[in-house]
Amino acid sequence: MQNNILNRVKRILILREISSFIMVFVVILVFFIISPLFLSKENIGVILEIIPELGIVALGVTMLLVSGEIDLSLGSVFCFCPIILASLIEKGMSFPLSFIISLLLGIGIGYINGFITITFAIPSFITTLGTMLVWRGGVLLLTGGWPPFFPSGIPTWFLVGSVGILRMSLFWYAGLTVLMWFILERTDFGNWMFSTGGNPVAARAMGVDTGRVKMACFMICSLLAGFAGIIQSFRLEATLPSMGTGLEMDAIAASVIGGTSLAGGMGTVIGTTIGSFVIRFIDNGLVMARAPSYWFRVFIGIVTIFAVIFNTYLRERTKRFRC
C-alpha cells in the first residue's frame, strides 16, 4: 500500500513538466496573496485575451528548439507578416488572398532561415540574428516607421471575435497546442525531431533526414510567429512597426521555463504552454500588485534562470529515484 503511494508520487515527480507545474502554482499563489483580484473572472479574461499571441509563438519555438535550432527572427516576422497583410489589402487585394499570402510569406521566411543554416552549416543563432535585423529593417523601410493605415471592414472576427468573455484567438491557440502536441508526441515526425535535436549523428545513421526535419521546424516556427502577429494586429486593429520587439526572448523564455533544452532534443508542448502562462501571469500580476511595469523583464529574467536550475535539479533527483 505504502509502496503503491510511493510509486504514484514517483510517477508524478518524473513527469517532464513537473517543475513548470510547480512554478505556475507558486506564481498564482503569490499574486493571489498580494491581490485577490488576480483570480477574478475579469482579470482571468484579460489574461486569456492576450495569452495566445505569446503562446502560439512559443509553441513554434519549442518545435524548433527540440530539433536543435533556434530562431531569433520571429519577433520581426511577427511584425512583418501583418504589415504585409495590411499593405496588400491597402493595395486593393482581397482579404482571403492577402491573408494566405502573408502566411505563405511566414513559411517562406522560415524556409530562408533553414536554407541558410543547413546549406552553409552555420549556427541558426547567427542566421536568425541576421534575418531578425533584415525583416525588422524591411518593416521600417516599408512603413517609413509610421504605422500603416489599418484596413477597415476586414473580417477580424474569425481570429479575435468575442465569445463570452473569451476571444476566438484562445480557441485557435488551444487547437494549435493540441496539434503541436500531437505532432511532437504521437507521430513519426515528432520522433525524428527529438532524434535530430538529441543526437544528429545517430539520427542520420538511423535514416532520419535531419536537414529536412530542421527545415520543416524552421517553417512551422515562422508560420506560427506570423500567424500570432496577425492575431495581435487584429486585436489592436493596428499594425505598429514596433510590434514583436523582444518577443523572441519572451517566447524562448516561455519554452525554457517549460523545460525545453536549448541544446535540443528535449521539450514538451504542455510545458511550453505552462511557461507562456507563467510569463503572462507575471506580467499581469505585477500590474495587479501595482508594481511599476519595468519590473516585468526583471522578473522574467529571474524566473527563467530559476526554472532552468530547478529543472536540472529535479532531473538529477528523479534519475536517482528511478534506479
Binding site: T187, F194, S195, G207
Partner: protein, 248 residues
C-alpha cells in the same frame, strides 16, 4: 539459400580524402554466421572501411557485393534496408529519448499512415520493444525509461536488440567495449555470440585484441590503409597478431 559463399565481399576498395589515401586496395569479406574482428591502430582505416560498407560514403574505386549481388549505396538507409546495421560507439543512441523511441526511430510502427501524417502505434511498439529486449536478456525497468539512465553495456544491448528485432543480416559494432567495465564487456561479448547463434554475422571493430580474440572467428588487421593480415582464429595466435600490429 546458399550460405557457403560470403555474405559481404568488398573488393579492391580505394578511398582518398583530399590527397590522403585512406584505403589502398583493401579486400574484405564476411561469411555467413561469422564474427570478424577488425583490428588496427587509430587512423588505420577501420572507420573508413565501415562507413563505406554502411553507406555513409561510396568508395572511389572497388565494388561491394552483398549476398552475391553488387550494391551501390547512396545513403545509410540503403545499407540498412538490406540488413546491414551499424552500431557506432557514441552515436548509436539518442540519450534523451526513451528506449522504445530509440529502438524504432526511423522505422516507426504506425497505426495510421497517410504519408504526411503518420500516427505512432505506441502500444504495439511497447509490446514489440519488450519482446526485442527479452531477446538479449536485458532486464530493464520499462521501455519508456530514458537511454540516458542506462549503462554503456545496456546501451549496447539495446542497440543489439534493435538489430535482432529488425532481422539484420550483418551487425557492425564500432568499438563496442570501449569505456566499459570488465563485467560489462563480457556481457557485450555474449551479445555478439547471441547474434551468431541467431545466424547474424557481425564485424567487431576494436583496437583491443584481447576483446576481439575470444569471440572472433576470423581476424583482419589494417594498417595505414592496407590490409596486413587476415587469419582464421585456429591458424593464428595472440602473439602473432600482436607482433603484426606493433610493426611500424
Amino acid at each position: 539459400m546458399d550460405r557457403s559463399g560470403f555474405l559481404v565481399e568488398m573488393k579492391n576498395i580505394n578511398k582518398w580524402f583530399g590527397g590522403v589515401c585512406a584505403l589502398k586496395n583493401v579486400n574484405f569479406s564476411v561469411g555467413y554466421d561469422e564474427i570478424v574482428g577488425l583490428l588496427g591502430d587509430n587512423g588505420a582505416g577501420k572507420s573508413t572501411l565501415i562507413k563505406i560498407l554502411s553507406g555513409f560514403y561510396p568508395p572511389d574505386e572497388g565494388s561491394i557485393f552483398f549476398e552475391g549481388k553488387e550494391q551501390h549505396f547512396t545513403s545509410p538507409r540503403d545499407a540498412r534496408n538490406l540488413g546491414i546495421e551499424t552500431i557506432y560507439q557514441e552515436a548509436a543512441m539518442i540519450p534523451k529519448m526513451s528506449i522504445l523511441r530509440n529502438i524504432f526511430v526511423g522505422r516507426e510502427l504506425n497505426k495510421v499512415n497517410l504519408g504526411v501524417v503518420r500516427y505512432l502505434d505506441i502500444p504495439r511498439m511497447e509490446v514489440e520493444s519488450t519482446r526485442a529486449l527479452d531477446g538479449v536478456d536485458l532486464r530493464l525497468r520499462s521501455p519508456h525509461a530514458l537511454v540516458d539512465e542506462l549503462s554503456g553495456g545496456q546501451r549496447q544491448g539495446v542497440a543489439i536488440a534493435r538489430a535482432m528485432y529488425f532481422k539484420s543480416k550483418l551487425v557492425i559494432l564500432d568499438e563496442p567495449t570501449n569505456n566499459l567495465s570488465v563485467k560489462e564487456s563480457a556481457k557485450v561479448l555474449q551479445f555478439i555470440r547471441d547474434l551468431k547463434s541467431l545466424g547474424i554475422s557481425s564485424i567487431f571493430i576494436s583496437h583491443n585484441l584481447y576483446h576481439v580474440y575470444p569471440v572472433a572467428d576470423r581476424i583482419v588487421v589494417l594498417s595505414h590503409g592496407s590490409k596486413i593480415g587476415d587469419f582464421k582464429k585456429e591458424e593464428t595466435s595472440i602473439e602473432e597478431i600482436t607482433k603484426l600490429m606493433v610493426l611500424p
